[in-house]
């Protein structure tokens, strides 16, 4: 593909190599994507509905395995290791995921939700260690002061924005190499959205973040690098500043100007 941009960088955290994903044989939802993602940066994936941005993101933590019809070809390297050859359970511990709608476990307390990544994997710590993980993770997402007195309450009692931060805490508790976010603020109000965006800017000091968003201004506000996808192809991948001021592809420019999407 002529327009596919191959961007090589030093020490990438995540690399897509000729990655294609198809739901139906012969029709790629993600088509030959090549890109290297920077460590400790926020990379935004933008594009109109159905462009394959979520599909690309979900390929990284092997979520597609839930649906046996989906076929993946190419390579995804996480710190140089091909995750398509690893055990999916191992991949998912290294690539944390935050979903579109907050989905805390309804039967678990706030505390249990944060530690769930360990307890579900049968990793047991002493209580003091567990307490520490819960506190650091909740502090990481700025939720500690709000919930420290109600850790035994159900996670579902929190507001939508708090629930989403709880889900981020649950993901970061496992100290993943990369944090994948699938439109994490699309179900939230502007105040909660702003809160999460500020949080991501803090979190990128510790984690590499890939965020799918259909909100261009969000990508412009928080991301360091941006990808623009259209009909399964990666059209453009560049520094966010460059892409928003001086897009190279006509389709990117049209999308950013709101002419489609």
């Amino acid at each position: 593909m002529e327009n596919t941009i191959k961007k090589t960088i030093q020490n990438p955290v995540l690399q897509f190599k000729d990655l294609s994903v198809s739901y139906v044989p012969g029709k790629n939802a993600v088509n030959m994507v090549n890109a290297d993602l920077k460590e400790n940066r926020i990379t935004a994936i933008m594009g109109p509905s159905g462009c394959g941005k979520s599909t690309l993101l979900r390929a990284v933590n092997r979520m597609h395995e839930l649906y046996p019809d989906i076929k993946i070809t190419g390579e995804i390297l996480l710190k140089g290791e091909n995750i398509l050859k690893m055990n999916p359970m191992e991949v998912r511990c290294k690539a944390g995921m935050v979903f579109q709608r907050p989905n805390p476990f309804p039967t678990m307390s706030i505390y249990e939700n944060v530690i769930a990544g360990y307890s579900l994997n049968n990793v047991h710590f002493q209580k003091s260690q567990r307490d520490e993980i819960v506190e650091t993770s909740l502090r990481n997402v700025g939720l500690w002061d709000e919930v420290k007195d109600s850790l035994t309450k159900k996670g579902t009692f929190l507001s939508g924005g708090q629930q989403q931060r709880l889900c981020i805490a649950r993901a970061v508790a496992l100290k993943p190499e990369v944090l994948l976010m699938d439109e994490p603020t699309s179900a939230l109000d502007p105040i909660a959205t702003n809160h999460i965006e500020q949080l991501l800017l803090e979190l990128k000091k510790q984690f590499s973040i890939v965020i799918v968003t259909h909100n261009m201004s969000q990508a412009a506000r928080i991301s360091d690098m941006s990808m623009f996808m259209y009909l399964g192809d990666l059209i453009e991948y560049d520094d966010t500043k460059i892409m928003f001021t001086n897009p190279k592809d006509k389709r990117t420019e049209e999308y950013l100007n709101g002419q489609f999407g």
């Binding site: 944390g96 989905n103 309804p106 049968n122």
Partner: protein, 290 residues
């Protein structure tokens, strides 16, 4: 003016229709109240402490008591214990088997095999209980050479199974896919996703299904006649003949001196099922899927 009349006629027709709905809903409720009233009126006087702690009286004792105008001595303790024993045994088998089959149906809803399971459970649900009794007779009573609580429990377990399978499947399918994805995204193994996240989230529905299955088989008589047979004593031995409340009701019916006990036993069974249903409702409400 003519149009007005037509309108009035239409309003009247609607009112009449709604009146019919109310009338027929009353016709459903009236027999239920009548049953409870009848059972309470005739059965309540027999219910005392002995009713729960003593075994069923002999015909002679009952006749003597009736002759002197006293309430019939004794109770239905042998039946209560037998019912408890057999329902517990049946539940111990039917709950795990039913839940795991239900998980399979919810997880692989469209395979050929799950179609077979679904068809067979539907068939099993419609199978007359006497047929299941005969099967349990052939499978357990014959080989063991004796009527037993085990045989009774086998019949009851088979009857509970389809109810638990389908309620598990339906509850699990109501859970949002995002819940499963959230658990898998943490790298959790499949068994932990199902047992530690999905099943607890479905607890309300599972528990309600189990309680309804229990209350359904609690009143079963026909399969127990062919399997547990009945006993005049409290029996904890699973390979001996055992009594059950519905079996006692049948025995009381066949003994003119014990006829009064029918009403109190029926009232007891009815109340028990009423309470189970009440609990099931409360649990379903409290643990409903958000």
């Amino acid at each position: 003016m003519k149009g007005m009349n037509a309108l009035n006629y239409r309003v009247l027709k609607d009112r009449l229709f709604f009146g019919m709905i109310c009338l027929f809903s009353w016709l459903t409720v009236v027999p239920l109240f009548a049953i409870i009233w009848e059972l309470g009126k005739k059965g309540l006087k027999q219910i005392n402490f002995d009713f729960f702690t003593k075994v069923a009286p002999s015909t002679l004792d009952a006749m003597l008591a009736k002759g002197s105008g006293e309430v019939i001595p004794g109770g239905i303790a042998n039946g209560i214990m037998g019912t408890l024993l057999m329902v517990t045994l049946a539940a111990l088998v039917a709950i795990p088997v039913g839940i795991f089959s239900g998980i399979y149906l919810a997880e692989k809803p469209k395979t050929f095999y799950s179609g077979i399971i679904r068809f067979l459970t539907d068939l099993l649900q419609g199978t007359p209980s006497i047929v299941i009794g005969i099967i349990a007779y052939a499978w357990v009573v014959k080989p063991l050479g004796a009527y037993s609580a085990l045989a009774g429990a086998t019949a009851l377990a088979i009857m509970m199974l389809p109810l638990i399978v389908r309620s598990t499947e339906e509850t699990l399918r109501m859970l949002p896919i995002s819940l499963k994805e959230a658990a898998l995204a943490l790298g959790a193994p499949y068994w932990a996703v199902m047992l530690k996240v999905m099943l607890p989230s479905a607890f309300g529905g599972l528990f309600t299904g189990i309680l309804l299955a229990v209350s359904r088989v609690m009143g079963e008589t026909a399969p127990l006649m062919l399997t547990a047979l009945g006993s005049t004593m409290i029996n904890w031995d699973v390979v001996s003949p055992t009594s059950a409340v519905p079996l006692l009701i049948w025995e009381f019916y066949n003994d003119p001196n014990l006829v009064d006990m029918i009403w109190s036993s029926s009232l007891f069974l009815m109340m028990l099922i009423f309470i189970l249903n009440l609990i099931a409702k409360q649990v379903a409400k409290k643990w409903r899927i958000q």
